[in-house]
Amino acid sequence: MSKPKGYLSLVLHAHLPFVRHPEYAEFLEEDWLFQAITETYIPLLNLFEKLEDESVPYKITVSLSPTVVSMLNDWMLQERCVRRLEKLTELAAREVERTRWDPRFNKLALMYHYFFENARKTYVDKYRRDLVSAFRKLGDAGNVEITTCAATHGFLPLMSVNKNAVWAQVETACRYHERNFGRRPKGIWLPECAYTPGLDEVLKRAGIRFFFTDTHGVLNASPRPRYGIFAPIYCPSGVAAFGRDMESSRQVWSANEGYPGDPWYRDFYRDIGFELDLDYVRPYLHGGVNRVHTGIKYYRITGQGDDKQPYDPDVALDKAASHAGNFMFNRERQIEHLSGVLGREPIVVAPYDAELFGHWWFEGPQWLEFLIRKTAFDQNVFRLTTATEYLSMHPKNQIATPSLSSWGYKGYNEVWLEGSNDWIYRHLHWAADKMVELANRGDRSNAIVNRAIKQAARELMLAQSSDWAFIMKTGTAVPYAVKRTKEHLLRFMRLYDEIRRGAIDVEWLSDVENKDNVFPELDYSVYADKVYAGERL
């Protein structure tokens, strides 16, 4: 291949909040993880391995949030995921029978049966329930760059009144990443792409080399970035910031022009869990009462209105191929043009929620596969790359401080700081201060006290997940988000109180440790002032 004119960096950010409820036999919100595993993580792993097997040249960045990794590692959730997959396979088999007289649906029922059966086999037989190792192997092979995220996806700019809390989120994530992937992460996905000046100092101390911001984070950097968002900038700390490309974002996200909204693609909402006779689907619902997504969806988007046509996977596949071709064509023109204007090889950064692919946009993994293959074989204007690779090719970059920004609606902090959710910060900030106080105690001789302090750190981190504020603002599961925020804060407060009074209720502590067991090896001293100041305790 001749020297490319520029580079495209695809970044998939996989994240879900920590949801694990051993106190219930089954729990609705645990489905978030099972759906992501079935519809996104497994299809992506299948795709990447296929590319490896066929030696297709490709590069991609996958950010795995520590809470996702933690849940993927949890045996109880693994067990429940297998059970869910078995149930869905069974339901799909019944659907094959039920739709026998209607070939339009029968074909789809067969497709879903194969899909779930294959997911179950991949999960159980191939990976032995260990998706983290599967990602690790891909990371080791060198084409997939795995980056981390803040420990529990805390919204860092609104946490930064307490620097230790920010440091704890970042450093805990890096250590957990190292434990799972064998090395410290070079890059980080800042939760919600939310950056505030100074954050890079914390990242640098954790050994992070780069992060991503939304377009205006780099574009409004100071001094002005000479190459706009088409080259990274170095923060004064030396950590590189890559800005998101607007055009490729719009092509995928726009409600009107965006690919996933194509009338031929599968409709996300029309799920048989809501549509079929309750008695029939009851065994596959939670507690037999709440109608839920089963993943079996028979209709295509069709158009505005409620009158939907049956889904046709063959036409949808063609669409995915032509959309991938269109995306590639646009990148070729964009990069050709840019390389002329800039006089340097531009990098176009296209970050997406990983769960967009497969879960929301059913054909997303196919689109991605077409894009990667076409990019490798059908053109020679640009090549896929990762941030690390690009930085090694272009180590010299402009120094500028990115602007405060996020990838949320309106581009700043408003989604996470507005009427529905602003009440959480006084509690989160108070708890962060008290956590530092606990970590500063320095006396580590009492095992029970240590356990309690460690658990306090977990509770604080779990309360800090940006998901809760996001759900409160936009939400479908508001009561759950409120409950989780309060529950973790109340557990933190009780722990704090018991530690101070020297009266730790060990039975209760064990119970909470069992429930909120995120990051088994968490080291609470990351909250201590001395550690933040660079000293070891």
């Binding site: 001094p223 002005r224 839920v292 500028a400 405060l404 609606y409 507005e418 009427g419 009440w423 109340l490």
Partner: protein
């Protein structure tokens, strides 16, 4: 304010609170009667907001919910009383501001791609919904409530966007009593304010701010959105009392916070000097003139806001349509499905086929099969055969369906 505190207070204070709450016959009540009347009125409100009296690990039973929307509006308009600064949690300002917010909900007809992104991100947390797209409530235990105060004098400043910052605060009773002692007669005419200092580029010592402005906060509020108008400035906020003669008494000082730019930097690095025109070209290619989709909305919002008040609770112009995506004004809809259930019984060890395909019998020899029934005629031969293959019975129902729309 606890009932006990109210009893200790001078009658004038409880009387004003009672007026704010619209308690009938208040002027004829004595102090104790007022206190208990207020306590009665306040309990449900507090429970609704955040459970005023909940201490750390104590269980508080959620009080019965009672609609207070009527009093909320009047309350927020009530004249600011310094004492109410401590009554965190009662903050009705937010609700009031939401109603009066500068941006009407639902003004956006089409979703921007950023909104679309949020819709998809929201779908990540989607597991269920009522068929009509109305989210059902999660069946969970009512959580205990968080405390509304931490016995600390504290004010925190957070950046929301280039034009707005948010502040929350808490002032302890002790600090208020001290302030009251020092203000003496001015106490009752003092107003609660936020003093917002522009400290861009200075090491703030309390006196060297570039400029400052005051925002009067209504009694009872414990947080406020402040329109700071000019992006890319550093701010610090004091919460305090200002007496009629203008004397300011600070109760707490915030952290400093810097709002972001809403446009590219005016600083062009010397080493990397870029002519404006060239930068413009790159800026446009970077999508810069529509990044502003966000910034533009902000600008409009600011313009509207400048004509109105300087605070706003939730200017949420982001009207998310229902999860089912039925964004129509009238969401009436109807779906109909037809299924056919074929069931029967035979010897437990017999073999049964339907349309030639084997059917699994239950241990007692019964079976049930359901089919989605499309329009047209279905002939369904059902054959039962004894285990030894000697006997064989065939029953053939024919079913027709026709749909008129």
């Amino acid at each position: 304010m606890k009932e006990k505190d109210l009893r200790l207070a001078r009658k004038q204070e409880p009387l004003e609170i009672a007026a704010g709450l619209g308690i009938p016959g208040r002027s004829k009540m004595n102090k104790a009667e007022l206190a208990s009347a207020i306590a009665k009125m306040e309990k449900p409100r507090k429970a609704k907001k955040a459970g005023k009296s909940a201490r750390v690990a104590k269980m508080t039973k959620p009080a019965k919910k009672k609609t207070v929307s009527g009093t909320a509006g009047r309350r927020s308009k009530a004249k600011a009383k310094p004492m109410r600064v401590s009554a965190g949690g009662a903050g009705t300002k937010r609700d009031a501001a939401r109603r009066k917010g500068p941006i009407r909900e639902g003004t956006l007809v089409r979703r921007s791609w950023r909104e679309q992104q949020a819709v998809v991100q929201q779908a990540k947390y989607e597991t269920k919904m009522a068929p009509a797209g109305k989210p059902t409530t999660v069946t969970t235990v009512e959580p205990q409530e968080l405390p509304t105060s931490y016995d600390e004098d504290r004010i925190v400043l957070l950046v929301r966007d280039p034009y707005w910052v948010h502040s929350y605060w808490e002032i302890t009773r002790e600090s208020l009593l001290k302030a009251r002692a020092s203000l003496r007669d001015d106490w009752h005419n003092a107003r609660s304010i936020l003093r917002v200092y522009d400290i861009t580029g200075v090491e703030f010592d309390g006196d060297n701010a570039n400029s400052f402005f005051d925002v009067e906060v209504s009694g009872g509020s414990d947080n406020w959105y402040i329109n700071t108008r000019i992006p890319n400035r550093t701010y610090c906020v004091d919460i305090g009392l200002v007496s009629p003669d203008g004397k300011f008494m600070m109760l707490a000082r915030s952290n400093k916070a810097t709002t972001p730019r809403d446009v590219p930097s005016e600083v062009a690095d010397e080493e990397w000097m870029i002519p404006d025109w060239e930068f413009d070209k790159i800026y446009a290619l970077s999508g810069g003139f529509s990044v502003g989709a966000g910034s533009l909305e902000l600008k409009e919002m600011m313009e509207k806001a400048l004509g109105g008040e300087t605070s706003s609770g939730a200017p949420g112009s982001f009207a998310m349509s229902s999860p089912v995506g039925k964004g129509k004004a009238r969401g009436f809809w109807f779906r109909l499905g037809t299924e056919l259930i074929v069931y029967g019984a035979t010897e437990a060890d017999a073999k049964v086929t339907l349309q030639g395909r084997p059917i699994k019998l239950r241990p007692d020899g019964t079976f049930t099969v359901r089919f989605e029934l499309p329009d047209g005629k279905q002939v369904i031969p059902a054959v039962a055969e004894s285990a030894d293959g000697v006997e064989r019975i065939t029953i053939t129902p024919t079913v027709g369906k026709k749909t008129n729309k």
